[in-house]
Symmetry: C2
Subunit: 453 residues, 2 copies
């Protein structure tokens, strides 16, 4: 074949990049597990009719076909499979399918790829990795999980500060506040209002005002009130008072508004204690998906706000329901590919080497390869990653082999059973006698590390 070229929207990393991504995934997984979330995976495909329950996403779904299907045959939607475009819809299906075997409230994390056939852009891919946490209850789910989950994500992302990930800001809002306010000022097509407000960052306030009038049935005064609400943000409880004042000014009284403000206030208070300075109430956060019913979340990397949200989610009351039972949930999803691609493309992080090996065991001649293999096995049995030189080339060439990969140590096997082995730190040039049964590298050299660039 000719030299292949990359496919737009399907990112692949070189080994160093994959080390970064794997480290990010390891840190996320550890944080999730420390918080008691159990990992699951779901299949990559769902029946197309399930994926299309949300009309808005229909254009983004990749549909699976069979190579031998008759050309021109009418597509059979019921039997057709599509690749999942997120992990929330498959998780809701998994909960319904396995409800009899799960203990509720069920805390799970899920780290998998998802696919969307949309036009690739910076940080927006056709294939991407997501890392989700959700808690679902059977029938009911207490509000305190809406406080807990964004703080778990803040902790997980905070644990990546060490490697050069910028600080994050978690933006929170509550659908009940928005809906209560809209209804309180006399707007009834809440979904239309939310869809318009969701475009604020993209098209600006004046255009959104126009949309509110044209598509949500708002008067100019009502549209301006919605925009005033969306303009409110802050990281302490004054934000709640601010909304209350605005509501009173506009004569907007609604019990949903009160309930939402109480919830939002509780989240702000808890966040101020547990993750000071990270969580900001931002009343313009709407989230496009229409299944959210309480808290909604978005997360930006400070200094990289233009990248968009790297961790979003919210509370959903009716996503998983089989008629007889309903499983309300709350969850957030980290856009791992978006985050990692930014770390790599902006050179924010680097790795101490490109391969796992801490040691290259040299080979003095091919007939003695077995002795080098034995040294490697002895080191590995004590948890030290090792590879053996590919050929019995001159030692200078073997050292260059290690150097090109960033392997810090080269091991020379003694010329006979009596002669001691030696190990050379090829960075300093220091060479010392060593025994494969006891020698250990510094902790900082044992495995490749991901560090700020």
């Amino acid at each position: 074949m000719a030299r292949p070229t990359p496919l737009s929207g399907f990112p692949e990393w070189l080994p160093e990049g994959r080390l970064v991504e794997q480290h990010v995934l390891d840190v996320l997984r550890r944080t999730f597990e420390l918080h008691g979330f159990v990992g699951i995976e779901t299949r990559a495909v769902e029946p197309l009719d399930q994926l299309l329950r949300k009309g808005e996403t229909s254009k983004e779904v990749y549909v699976l076909g069979r190579l031998q299907a008759e050309a021109g045959a009418a597509p059979d939607r019921a039997g057709t499979l599509g690749l999942h475009f997120d992990l929330t819809v498959p998780f809701a299906r998994y909960v319904l399918e396995n409800a009899g075997h799960l203990a509720f409230p069920f805390r799970r994390y899920q780290i998998q790829k998802a696919w969307r056939g949309e036009r690739p852009q910076d940080g927006r891919f056709r294939e991407f990795v997501q890392a989700d946490i959700d808690v679902v209850g059977a029938g009911t789910l207490p509000y305190h999980y809406e406080v807990e989950l964004p703080l778990v994500m803040a902790e997980a992302l905070g644990a990546l500060r060490d490697i050069g990930v910028p600080p994050v800001r978690v933006l929170v809002n509550n659908r009940k506040v928005a809906e209560g306010f809209y209804r309180g000022i006399g707007l009834t097509d809440v979904d239309a209002v939310l869809r318009s407000i969701d475009k604020l960052d993209k098209i600006g306030a004046d255009a959104v005002a126009g949309l509110l009038v044209a598509e949500a049935g708002a008067s100019d005064v009502q549209a301006r009130a919605c925009l005033e609400l969306a303009a409110i943000s802050g990281s302490d409880e004054s934000v709640i008072d601010h909304v209350r004042t605005l509501a009173v000014d506009h004569g907007a009284a609604h019990e949903l508004l009160d309930e939402g403000l109480e919830e939002l206030g509780a989240l702000i208070r808890a966040a101020a204690l547990r993750a000071p300075g990270v969580v900001v109430a931002d009343l313009k956060i709407a989230r496009g998906l229409d299944y959210y019913t309480g808290s909604v979340y978005e997360t930006v990397l400070v200094g990289h706000e233009q990248l968009g949200s790297i961790c979003s989610g919210g509370r959903y009351d009716t996503l998983a329901s089989d008629g007889a039972n309903t499983y309300p949930g709350v969850g957030l999803s980290i856009g791992v590919s978006r985050l990692v691609s930014r770390l790599i493309s902006r050179g924010l992080v680097t790795t101490t080497r490109s391969v796992p090996s801490a040691v290259l065991v040299a080979v003095s001649n091919e007939d003695d390869r077995g002795r080098s293999d034995a040294v490697a096995a002895a080191l590995r049995s004590r948890g030290i990653p090792v590879e053996v030189a590919p050929s019995a080339a001159k030692f200078g060439k073997q050292i260059r082999h290690a150097d090109r990969r960033g392997i810090p140590f080269v091991w020379f096997v003694g010329e006979d059973e009596q002669a001691a082995d030696q190990v050379k730190d090829i960075r300093s040039g220091e060479q010392v006698e060593a025994d494969a049964g006891t020698w250990t590298p510094d902790d900082s050299d044992l495995w490749p590390r991901v560090v700020p660039a």
Copy 2:
């Protein structure tokens, strides 16, 4: 939606099953990294024309379509994407695409899903996880990698004996032996002979003899000679003598045969030293894929031979070539889903609990949830996985919540700042005073463990 049902061929595990799979993947990854393999991932899709370079697999490929594609439009093979059906073809493409950025010989592992549209059977899925290791060289690749790689896999699978995975037997052969022998006895359509021999286990010797005559142009005598070769197996070097004798008997002299026997002998000798009793030369191992050019490998679980191979591969000289440069390689692939499904369906393994949490922190009333959260944070900061009770129910109910999940400890926060906390081992009922800043569970209770059933 109605309660959904599973899709045949797309396995999903309950949380306990996923703990088993994740443990298997963690052990494989660690072994691969100790041997200096670096992890990469490739995209799930490849251009269809690349996937169809091997005609045999065409019927198994899932093709991606766009929902809005015109019904009846002629499929465009060049621009069409399909889901990869293994990790070797994508890896070969990755090597060609990134050759300028890789250091050769390049050692990589790759753990990902693959998809095949074939009829599901026991241990044969439409979506499945593979764990591959390969080494590729630029231009050349020394034979010793053909010895090393199956031994790495034997070590990786051996590291799973602790959790109840049966011992494995690695069956090896060498294409050069087979090809040299066939040519030596006057058969020239080597691929046809291999395809026939590959069916031996399925259809038996007599039917294969018929195939050899009908499709590989063999005489009855030649067909019997091929079957005699295929019947040879053994775990020491006598197997080599056995093949030589057979070749002499049939007047089959060929330099490829000699080269192949020398290689196979070296592998048997090294394996006897490094993994005694695990590797068996089995001259009937053919492997269906036509890109193998040297060693070929299959691996069976002892006592579960009917499951088929759980780890296969071989040496390939020309899979990755862009015309100017060729990258010969050798690799093996573990069928993780096949292995894990057997472990689960036969009840060979179990887990000490179904969630990560070692501790459930009880909540005495909702106003005090913050104090329970603080205890949980203190424990987590020392690496102990913890969750907080979902509600301030009666303590008996909170203990049952832990018990249902197998969480061994329940933590009771002191009634006020002066009263000491207490922690209860709910298995023994023992309850002691404890400080969240110092208390630690036994190592065996810290994380859920996967153990023999």
